[in-house]
Amino acid sequence: MTWKRVCKVTDVPENTVKKFTVDKVTLLIANYGGGFRAIPPLCPHMQEPLEESGVIANCALTCTKHLWSWDLSSLDMLGETERPLQSYEVKLENGDILALIDKELVYEFEDEDDIKDDDFFSKA
């Protein structure tokens, strides 16, 4: 468990997300006005890169592809969001943003099973 320096506070303007890589771990820093969050780079819904699809307004991070959304101050899920947002702990020191990176946080994305041709085409 180590605190790692990610960027300067001034690197991420209010209501934006920016991508950084620290010791081979890629993460996003989100500035929601009331503070910062360090989160994995993909939307837990459909693996959309949140640095492109994510919009922050009124403390909420919304993926504009299908509107999953989280309150960044509480990390509560908003609307029809079905998975929580994972996050690294952050702290500010001397104008830097530090994240507590133990291991890389990743979401599991499942694949559907396949069916053999003859079984599939004979189904009623």
Partner: protein, 416 residues
């Protein structure tokens, strides 16, 4: 979730009847012919706007259900519509898309419509006023009084649009669509409007697919900018309200144009009586759309050309009294959403062109789902269900199985 084999793919979805249609309603040439006969020849079509005929003797030509039509402003300032067909040998009388009869034509005279073929002439009230060598050819067996243009029902209404019907006895226009226009009537009729934008597009798709797109906002997911800046609770709260005769109105809400990237508030140039930045939309059966976004009005009119081909005419309107600067701002507001480089129009056309590509005449019939229910708000597909319920009545066909006759309203309404 799993992929479907052929038999499964063709099965009915687990929805109520009325919540899907058979794709043949979009692709079958026989159904298309019935639509021209049963619907387009019997209803009212807004063929143009009075500002496109500003002067006495101005005219425009168009067509409804393959019938050529001429609309002109007579010497008494009345706008009239006629079949653009000579009573003699069926020649088209006027070929130009628009112009003026004030000047004489090569084989005719000023202030007359002249058939160039044998120089028969008509006045702007449709009377035949000249038959070349009448006595020599017809003696007294046929004279001018026996022939004339076919005059059509024509009214200037709801903000100066010119409504024409091929039906001599249609449902009165006020009764036909007065109620859906009620929400915008004061705004459109407070003072004269003027067309500042016109273009037409011939799109390889069925005309109803264009109207479907105008009747649901669920395709927001295709509009990148709508997703990014458009969605909010007020937006989702907008209701699709159904009216008699298949019409739908999408209720208004206040758009935060200043939150759109590169946009500005439209409050300063709102149409009369319209609260600032409001957005109303009227979808008329069988395929006209009136879309007022604060400062600019858009009107789409469809002319079905084939099952898989439609001409859409797009008009943009402002107030006739606009200063040059005001007009330019309205044009900018119009084009920023609906112009070729605007936010929405080209994406909407992409959607229906893609549907058209999968529903060619002869394509295997499949189910097209209209089953979203969301308390009749804008991602609900109730507007489309309302439309197809009306379509079934006019066509005497069941939209989900068009080989079957339309069911009594009670049965269809049960599905609603």
């Amino acid at each position: 979730m799993p992929a479907k084999n052929h038999k499964q793919w063709l099965a009915d979805p687990p929805l109520q009847p009325g919540e899907w249609v058979d794709s043949r309603v979009y692709s079958d040439p026989r159904i298309f012919e019935d639509e021209l006969k049963n619907i387009f020849r019997r209803t009212w079509i807004p063929v143009c706007h009075e500002s496109e005929l500003p002067n006495l003797y101005d005219f425009r030509t168009t067509s409804i259900a393959r019938e050529p039509i001429i609309v002109c402003r007579g010497p008494d300032n009345e706008v009239r519509a006629f079949l653009n067909v000579c009573a003699h040998r069926g020649m088209i009388i006027e070929r130009r898309p628009s112009g003026s009869f004030l000047d004489g034509q090569p084989s005719g005279n000023p202030k007359r419509m002249t058939c160039m073929f044998h120089a028969w002439q008509y006045d702007l009230k449709g009377n035949c006023v000249y038959i070349s060598r009448e006595k020599e050819g017809y003696q007294d067996r046929l004279c001018k009084e026996n022939v004339g243009l076919r005059r059509l029902r024509c009214e200037v209404k709801f903000g100066g649009f010119v409504w024409v019907s091929l039906n001599d006895n249609p449902i009165p226009l006020e009764e036909w669509c007065g109620k859906p226009f009620e929400c915008l009537r004061k705004s459109l009729e407070a003072e004269p409007l003027e067309v500042f934008h016109y273009h037409k597009a011939i799109i390889p798709t069925n005309y109803k697919l264009w109207h479907d797109t105008n009747s649901e906002f669920y395709h927001d997911f295709m509009h990148y900018h709508n997703r990014v800046t458009g969605f909010n609770d007020a937006y989702f709260g907008r209701k699709n309200e159904s009216f008699e005769h298949g019409h739908v109105v999408v209720g208004t809400f206040e758009v935060n144009y200043d939150k759109y990237e590169g946009f500005e508030s439209r409050a300063a140039l709102s149409f009369p009586y319209l609260p600032p930045n409001q957005w109303y939309m009227i979808d008329l059966f069988p395929g006209m759309n009136f879309n007022l976004r604060g400062s600019a009005l858009r009107c789409d009119v469809v002319t079905p050309l084939a099952p898989d081909k439609v001409m859409i005419e797009f008009r943009g309107l402002g107030l006739k009294r606009d200063t040059e600067e005001e007009r330019q701002t309205r044009v900018n507001h119009h084009n920023s959403i609906w112009g070729p480089f605007g936010r929405n129009l080209h994406e909407d056309l992409l959607g229906v062109t893609g549907q058209g590509a999968t529903m060619l005449p002869g394509s295997e019939p499949r189910r097209i789902l209209h089953g979203r229910r969301e308390n009749q708000t804008i991602h609900d597909e109730n507007g489309m269900r309302h439309y197809y319920s009306e379509w079934g009545k006019w066509m005497n066909r069941l939209p989900r199985d068009p080989a079957q006759p339309y069911l009594a309203p009670a049965a269809a309404d049960a599905a609603e």
